[in-house]
Symmetry: C2
Subunit: 253 residues, 2 copies
């Protein structure tokens, strides 16, 4: 039996510790192709590059086929399928992200958008994130969790047009209580802008803020993470608010 073809991407860039960690795990399960951004592309969401062309360069540094791409994580997925593989991989893995992608972060996250793009292509896809933003974070527990989940995903298969949003708390393997299959928490960023003056006295703005959890239920990714579990949210790309269709129909437009 041939080994599965595994596409690995991320949004922190091809040289990050997170993707290096994910490649290590992916190699245990199949033949790995890496197509990842040539620079950090965090928070690029489902952005694609259409106003200027993309570049793709062979990347040397690990003993497997790898390309760095000038575009976003979603660009990487599209280039991998339509230009490099000329077909779909058996599994798409994105991450391991430096920083968690729980709750509404799924919309901003380049890492998760790559996995959602995989789901659109009906490729079994998983996005992994670790709740630690530092470049030198310890990915031991995240690798352990990724190994367990990939094993199951290959045996049980991920449902059609669905991807998994996996978040790992920043604790040791022995402290992790297990895995929880949960929903996206209803929580938001309380944004603010840091306004500064440039050398000409003109203002510029840095986005900042804190994540505020307004959702106190136990069946969410944020609650699972807080309790020391790896959270797994089955994620799709249908954004229709079905329960609101009748209400709008009553507007009698």
């Amino acid at each position: 039996m041939s080994r599965p073809k595994i596409l690995v991407t991320n949004d922190d860039g091809i040289t990050s510790k997170g993707i290096t960690s994910l490649i290590e795990v992916a190699k245990l399960f199949g033949d790995v192709l890496v197509v990842a951004p040539d620079k950090p592309q965090s928070a690029t969401g489902h952005s694609i590059t259409i106003h200027h062309p993309l570049r793709l360069n062979e990347f040397h540094g690990n003993d497997l086929p790898a390309y760095s791409c000038s575009g976003t994580p979603v660009d990487c997925v599209k280039l991998a399928i339509y230009e490099i593989l000329n077909g779909k991989p058996d599994l798409l893995l994105s991450g391991i992200n430096h920083g968690e992608n729980t709750s509404t972060n799924v919309l901003y996250s380049g890492t998760m958008s790559a996995a959602v793009e995989g789901a659109m292509e009906n490729i079994p896809s998983i996005g992994f994130s670790l709740a630690n933003f530092s470049a030198d974070a310890d990915f031991t527990a995240a690798k352990w969790a990724a190994k367990k989940i990939i094993e199951k995903a290959l045996n049980k298969s991920i449902p059609e047009n669905t991807c998994l949003n996996v978040n790992v708390p920043d604790i040791s393997v022995s402290e992790i209580k297990g895995f929880k299959i949960v929903r996206q928490a209803h929580a938001f960023w309380a944004d603010r802008f840091d306004k500064r003056m440039d050398q000409f006295g003109k203002p510029y703005y840095w986005l900042t803020g804190e994540f505020s959890n307004v959702d106190q239920h136990e069946d969410t990714d944020l609650a699972a993470m807080k309790d020391g579990y790896v959270s797994i949210v089955p994620t799709h790309f249908d954004m229709t608010a079905y329960s609101k269709i009748d209400e709008i129909k009553n507007w009698m437009l």
Copy 2:
């Protein structure tokens, strides 16, 4: 009674014909603030700018407060709320997009991502798109539809944490059959890349492709548009695939 405060943004840029058309309609209903990208930001999805700072410049050219922003449509919404208004508008309008945003395009669209960001902030938000990509498209029918929908939205109120994805077919007002409240069609881009060589013989890639409708049901935005209706999809930001939670639980991780 004071007039509603209306924030207008888009992804085609502050000088586009689409936003100018939307501003015309918005002014009928309230006091308008425009915060929109200083250049085209199509297909930037829910991208936000975090790796470099943002610029905001007063924009003169219409007789109302307007700012052009160096960032994405979602950046524009955040800056409007947290830096310019220091509070939420009563209504957020995004568009009118040059080109339709039906089906899975909602994920790639900067226009719709601005509306989704509004929904996250619990601001009644509507994204408008016209099925015509040209810079000089005729927005007469789209303006007619926007007027009707904004009127209802202000009277009936949009459900909590929901925005509307409105698409208008590229036909005349007299040809439009009405409005249909529908779901996002299950359709995808059949992508391909146009590979070209630069002056040094190195390849570069332009994303191209066609939209292929795999969803033949009648209750979708694509079907409504095809039949000559304005499509309205109530849209939210919960991407959880609820129906798949039990299946993943059965993996017994």
